[in-house]
């Protein structure tokens, strides 16, 4: 039997109602933030989830933790269906899964000292109480590279990078099996970003924690992830091991994304040209009859406008949802 996955997301939809369309019409308008997402995450790996703003990656991360309720589909966590759990059961599960947000200013209570921010989750989940809390917090802060003097300080006394370390310490407090990192390092300067990336990788090596690493930054995702899923308008269009997805992308959207990223390198030949991609993201309110990428795709054919491609195997473990992924096999 294949290795049991820790997370199994099956056919997940998250639609948001945004009121009715105009006067006298009855059809409710919906934003299809996540639209048929299927994803498996293995224990101890980092799954990168990458895409542009509005592609649904953050909503997907939140729905996996049941921080928003899915419209359809289910999320299995270590064999248990999260949507079937009541409040008590869900609370028990929350001990095993955590999230670190993008903005450490907004996600840390400005009126609480760091020892209380980190200690709170220990107490809430019954992992420590009374005098036992402080030494646990001190150990956690040390793990993320902050000194114990940080305990008595408030969030505003820290820099952005240090604050993000506090957020990571809080997530680690419950010794989770799974952490969703939602653009957790995007707001940091590159030199600080590098420190946090190294910290996250060290923690994973030491504890075996599983990450879902959500980011718009293709370079950071490559560095962090064992496997990567590329999202476009609510669905995964390509997924595979990092090396093969970056070395030979098989979906035209992934290819375009990669060719849009400016690389910090200049040759004697002069400035590189960024090939990029035409047009902009279509509205997530539209219902897609054919391929969701067809209006921007350089390879578009009639079939793409008629029938949606399925996420098919291109090489073992590597999937792409494109009618013409074969053509990209050699073109890379």
């Amino acid at each position: 039997m294949a290795e049991q996955e820790l997370i199994f997301v099956q056919d997940l939809d998250v639609h948001f109602d945004i009121g009715r369309e105009g006067f006298g019409k009855s059809s409710a308008r919906k934003v299809r933030a996540v639209d048929g997402l299927t994803l498996k995450i293995r224990p101890g790996e980092t799954m990168g989830l990458v895409g542009e703003s509005g592609c649904g990656k953050s909503t997907a991360g939140r729905a996996i933790l049941r921080l928003v309720d899915p419209t359809r589909g289910r999320v299995m966590f270590d064999g248990q269906d999260l949507s079937a759990l009541g409040p008590r059961g869900l609370r028990q599960m929350r001990k095993r899964m955590q999230i670190v947000h993008q903005d450490p200013y907004a996600s840390l209570n400005p009126r609480m000292k760091v020892k209380d921010i980190v200690g709170e989750s220990l107490i809430v989940h019954g992992l420590a109480k009374g005098r036992a809390v402080a030494p646990r917090v001190a150990a956690l802060l040390e793990t993320v590279g902050l000194g114990t003097e940080a305990m008595e300080r408030y969030p505003h006394e820290f820099s952005g990078g240090q604050r993000q370390r506090v957020g990571i310490a809080r997530a680690l407090a419950v010794e989770p099996d799974f952490i969703v990192l939602d653009e957790s390092i995007s707001a940091l300067d590159v030199s600080i970003q590098a420190q946090i990336i190294n910290l996250l990788k060290d923690l994973q090596r030491d504890t075996g924690v599983t990450y879902l690493f959500i980011s718009h930054d293709m370079a950071v995702v490559r560095h962090m992830s064992d496997r990567v899923a590329v999202m476009y308008l609510g669905a995964v269009v390509e997924m595979g091991p990092s090396e093969s997805l970056y070395a030979s992308p098989r979906h035209p959207y992934t290819r375009a994304l990669l060719k849009s990223v400016p690389v910090p390198q200049v040759t004697a030949a002069g400035k590189p040209t960024l090939e990029g991609i035409k047009g902009e993201l279509a509205s997530p309110m539209e219902v897609h009859k054919g391929c969701r990428f067809c209006n921007r795709c350089p390879l578009v054919q009639d079939i793409c406008r008629q029938s949606p491609p399925t996420l098919d195997v291109v090489t073992p473990g590597h999937f792409a949802a494109c009618h013409f992924s074969d053509r990209l096999a050699t073109a890379a």
Partner: protein, 329 residues
């Protein structure tokens, strides 16, 4: 006319008084040649944004700005007051910002804002200003320009809004365009479109550009010459090719090595800057975080010395043996 389009010497911007004063920009000096794209790169707090605010005399009180010499197109602007600077800004030196929503008026249509600019700066009639607005929208690759003129800023996507900003900056045919992180808030595919547009405008219109960014990837795609800032100081300057391939300053080297690369498989941990005092009180500013620091670095402050024609770095050991330098290209 020969000589650089812009020549700046000893720009200082500071906030606060006496011992608690913060020196956001210290003795910044550089030239911009005609048709050249100069990138100013640095992390947050490096003074890169204050550098251009100081250049344009837009530093707000209680901040203070002083400039040794500022020459633009042969005209000495050094002693110019606010009125005289206003005649230069917008018209001959235009600026675009990171967030077009704060720079565009949300209550007025794009066309109305274009017309206002054309009438005020160029003294055009309403009709002529409208035509000029359409012309510049087409210059920046906006289709259906007539319809876009009638739209309000919130009706446009982020990428189109940034194009509109650039179009507005072009109305007066400026010689110099200053852009402060204009693509940072955009998605990478849209950023690529804007970068290629700017390169194209530079080539077609012969614009000179100062582009402020924290992203060395964007620098590589765009810049002819690069200025690296650290803690208000210019620590390295040079042609892009030299700066990326024969890096002079250890800070520039560390920045490059700490960036994950989209085009290379990861090779162990990223190099990080040692945590340490950001700004040493004496000697080299960077020495507390520098892995090459030696006694001389604490004794004297290194000057911006020439390494090769046009390439300068403020380091005593620009010829050092590189530590674990990544094998770029």
């Amino acid at each position: 006319m020969t000589g650089p389009l812009l020549s700046l010497r000893d720009l200082n911007v500071s906030f606060g008084q006496g011992r608690s004063a913060v020196h956001a920009v210290r003795n910044l000096s550089f030239d911009v040649a005609r048709g050249e794209i100069v990138a100013i790169v640095g992390e947050s707090g490096s003074g890169k944004s204050n550098a251009v605010l100081g250049l344009l005399d837009l530093v707000r009180a209680p901040g203070r700005r002083s400039v040794g010499q500022l020459v633009f197109d042969g005209e000495d602007l050094t002693g110019y007051g606010p009125r005289q600077m206003r005649r230069i800004r917008g018209r001959r030196i235009a600026m675009i910002f990171q967030d077009p929503m704060t720079a565009l008026n949300p209550l007025l249509s794009v066309g109305r804002q274009m017309v206002d600019l054309g009438r005020q700066h160029l003294g055009l009639s309403r009709k002529a200003a409208w035509a000029r607005g359409i012309e510049v929208l087409e210059t920046v690759g906006i289709t259906a320009a007539e319809a876009r003129m009638k739209a309000y800023p919130h009706q446009l996507s982020g990428g189109i809004r940034q194009r509109v900003m650039i179009a507005m900056a072009l109305i007066c045919e400026p010689e110099l365009l200053i852009a402060d992180e204009p693509t940072t808030a955009l998605d990478v595919t849209i950023q690529a479109q804007i970068i290629e547009l700017v390169k194209d405008l530079q080539a077609r219109l012969g614009l000179s550009i100062i582009w402020i960014t924290h992203d060395l990837g964007v620098v590589a795609a765009l810049a002819d010459r690069v200025i690296v800032m650290y803690s208000g100081t210019q620590i390295e300057e040079g042609p892009a090719e030299a700066l990326f391939n024969r890096t002079g300053h250890p800070y520039t080297e560390a920045l490059l090595a700490s960036m994950p690369r989209v085009d290379q498989a990861p090779d162990g941990a990223l190099r990080t800057l040692p945590q340490g005092q950001r700004e040493a009180p004496d000697g080299c500013l960077f020495r507390a975080r520098c892995s090459y620091a030696e006694p001389q670095c604490a004794a004297d402050r290194p000057a911006l010395d020439s390494l090769a024609p046009g390439h300068r770095a403020a380091c005593f050991r620009p010829d050092r043996q590189r530590q674990g330098a990544p094998s770029h290209g």
